[in-house]
Amino acid sequence: MNIEILGITVLWVFLFGYIMVGAIDFGAGFFNAYTLLTGRQRILTHVIQRYLSPVWEVTNVFLVFFFVGIIGFFPKTAFYYGTTLLVPVSFGIILLAVRGSYYAFETYGARGHKGYSFVYGAAGLLLPASLSIVLTISEGGFIEMIDGQPVLDYWLLFTSPLTWSIVVLSLAATLYISATFLTWYANKAKDQEATQLLRKYALIWALPTMIAAGGIIFELRKHNSLHYENIQRFWPLFLLSFIMFLGTLGLLWKGRRYGVAFGLLAGQFVFAFFGYGASHYPYLLYPYLTIYDSFTNHAMAIALITAFIFGLLMLIPSLYLLLRLFLFNKDYVKGKEDYHA
């Protein structure tokens, strides 16, 4: 493994982390708002807030880590993506800002405030859709070089079926991941009513997730045949992913072993996400940018990796402590204790 691949793998792991914890987070915010609207908040709000409260800020750091890391390891991305993504990413930032702050406003300042809950629920749902545009653009075909400057063709982007398949996938996957996780969490909290409702949501969103994912591969065939061929080389990963999806679906259907169901779901997304990433190799942006021609200098790469290793040595025990105190602490999950400031 060379240093370029090491760099992009580290970043990809963190992006995967963001997608998973972010999906749980954003989906939870949406379900919270949705049940408020349909008058079923009594069932869900408690479970959702138990989970969300101590971790929301950590979620955001995964994203920051990814975009700071990619500029560090691949500075040329600043030029190509920075120039072209001004509008889509600005929308992403605004959604993220609204989502993060209104979540805090509601949770810490105005518990149960409906307006705030709707705002952050909606912003959270739009956020994956808006950020997923970056993946679409990375497939190439939407950026043209004019006078040596990259320019994004919005018309092409927003009329492409690929764009909309990816948007649908991001929405469906967010709700599917979140509902499955929360089913497990609610079950751990021995909250039967919440478990059943969330299980229903998980089952509803499973199929759209899979259909959208298939749709993307189909669209890629027309849009980026090089990537499409590469995806086929990694078929065992996608097959494994699909088998795991069936496993999750089966367990949810039967209504047991929710922990295993979520484990399989995580596996499904690991294989799909890394299969997708590996088949994207070596391009960061088709056809302009590969991980090789955009890589930073050797000294910086070594420095970043060293910093990363020391950083992980601090992070892993801290994350473990966080999970142990909240996620895996039976009394906390069941809501027996509330020690908020």
Partner: protein, 445 residues
């Protein structure tokens, strides 16, 4: 040209808004730590409650600080892609390290907030705050290092437009770094202290005469005094750094036109057709500020071509920053001595109103300081390497984004103030002390 201008305005807007919350985010954890520590040491519930209530308010400001920090982090690449491409090669290390500091802070803040009274031993809970405060302060350190690098870039060679011999550590430990980091971190503590002092003084003026607020006032102004002294001392060292490495910035800020010995310091005044009017001239003071000796020669603006010097209005920013800093130093000193010597007037209404005024003033000083730092670096985004205009995006959509972000910051600003007010008005400290008294069986006054 247009996109350069709007990129500058948007960056300035984001930074000016973010810095308010970021500064609170760096300074307030230290204040919470001190209060909780004093509370544990003296076994005084009031200080513990102080820490607890500050922590509650802090969460709201942290949320806005985090999301606007994410905004500026991304905007650096969106608005200044050419700059980030170059800078990413040399100064990415502290940016990357900042995310770890931030990670660390985020994790422990989550734990800290949700473990009040969970531990038998209160010191254990206190210990959780240390990584929060450290993470916050180190975030500031790392980000300030990046800013220092923009003022004094080093650690690489630029040969025919190619970057070679990159050394990330040399780039980090650039000459601007020690004074800048010390000044930013120190003034963050100072700002937070005066903000919390203003709140305590305001509560005392608005009818509450509870000892709780008096303790808060005493603690915060003590810390405020210490860090305003540090800010002044580091400010002096910053002058010496500038004289040595960025003389054009110092000269523009002090309206020092001709290179000369025995240079006087100009305070206040206005510029009229290149002529300084109504300024207070302190003999030898600029030579002392720049080189520590009244006779030393100080380089003036005459040594630089006009297109390489910053705009002269930064002198006003300098005046505002220094005047407010010194005023607050004096105010906290008088309060401190007055409490000790039992001067009655420090507990009078008008003196408390002055302390309340210190709250907004310290933020004006903070903004003036940052504008001075940023405008004073112009026309460079990376001094002597890249001009600001060369770093900007070629996208034509910046004005629209500027409008959107202005609206966002308005919403977030109003939202955070409304929520904070609501939190504390609905749960006044007297009420909370009573509630806790009932819980514990009455050992708190």
């Amino acid at each position: 040209m247009d996109s350069v201008f709007y990129s500058r305005v948007l960056t300035e807007l984001t930074l000016s808004f973010h810095i308010i919350y970021a500064t609170i985010g760096v300074g307030v954890p230290l204040m919470i730590m001190l209060a909780q520590w004093v509370g544990i040491k003296k076994n005084d519930e009031h200080y513990i409650l102080l820490a607890r209530r500050w922590a509650r308010g802090f969460v709201i400001t942290v949320a806005v600080g985090v999301v606007t920090g994410t905004a500026i982090g991304l905007q650096l690449s969106l608005l200044w892609p050419n700059f980030m491409e170059l800078a990413g090669n040399v100064i990415a290390l502290p940016l990357f390290m900042e995310t770890f500091a931030f990670f660390f802070e985020a994790i422990f803040l989550g734990i800290y907030l949700y473990t009040w009274d969970r531990f038998e031993n209160q010191k254990k809970h206190f210990l959780l705050l240390i990584p929060v405060a450290l993470g916050a302060s180190f975030s500031a350190v790392f980000i300030t290092i990046v800013n220092a690098f923009m003022n004094a870039p080093q650690g690489f060679d630029l040969v025919n437009g190619e970057l070679i011999n990159v050394n990330p550590l040399v780039a980090m430990f650039n000459p601007a770094m020690p004074t800048k980091v010390a000044h930013v971190v120190g003034t963050a503590y100072m700002t937070s202290a005066f903000l919390l002092a203003a709140i305590a003084a305001f509560r005392l003026l608005r009818g509450s005469n509870h000892i709780y607020h008096k303790k808060a006032l005493y603690l915060t102004l003590k810390v405020g005094f210490i860090f305003s002294v540090s800010a002044a001392l580091v400010g002096d060292l910053s002058g010496k750094y500038l004289a040595e490495y960025q003389p054009e910035k110092l000269a523009a800020a002090e309206w020092h036109f001709e290179t000369e010995e025995n240079a006087p310091l100009m305070l206040y005044g206005v510029l009229d057709d290149g002529e300084v009017k109504y300024a207070i001239k302190i003999p030898y003071a600029l030579s002392i500020l720049a080189h520590g000796s009244p006779k030393a020669e100080v380089i003036g603006l005459d040594q630089f071509p006009e297109e390489d010097t910053p705009p002269l209005y930064i002198h006003y920013l300098f005046d505002i920053m220094v005047t407010i800093g010194m005023t607050l130093l004096a105010l906290s000193l008088v309060f401190w001595v007055g409490m000790w010597r039992k001067w009655r007037f420090v507990e009078s209404r008008w003196f408390r109103w002055l302390i309340v005024l210190g709250g907004p003033l310290v933020f004006i000083s903070l903004e003036a300081g940052w504008w001075l730092a940023e405008v004073g670096r112009q026309p460079w985004i990376l001094r002597n390497i890249m001009r600001t205009a060369e770093g900007a995006t070629s996208s034509g959509q910046v004005p629209t984004m500027l409008a959107l972000f202005a609206l966002l910051y308005l919403v977030l600003g109003i939202g955070s103030v409304v929520v904070l007010r609501r939190m504390f008005v609905r749960n006044p400290v007297e009420q909370e002390i009573m509630d806790r008294q009932q819980e514990k069986g009455g050992d708190i006054r």
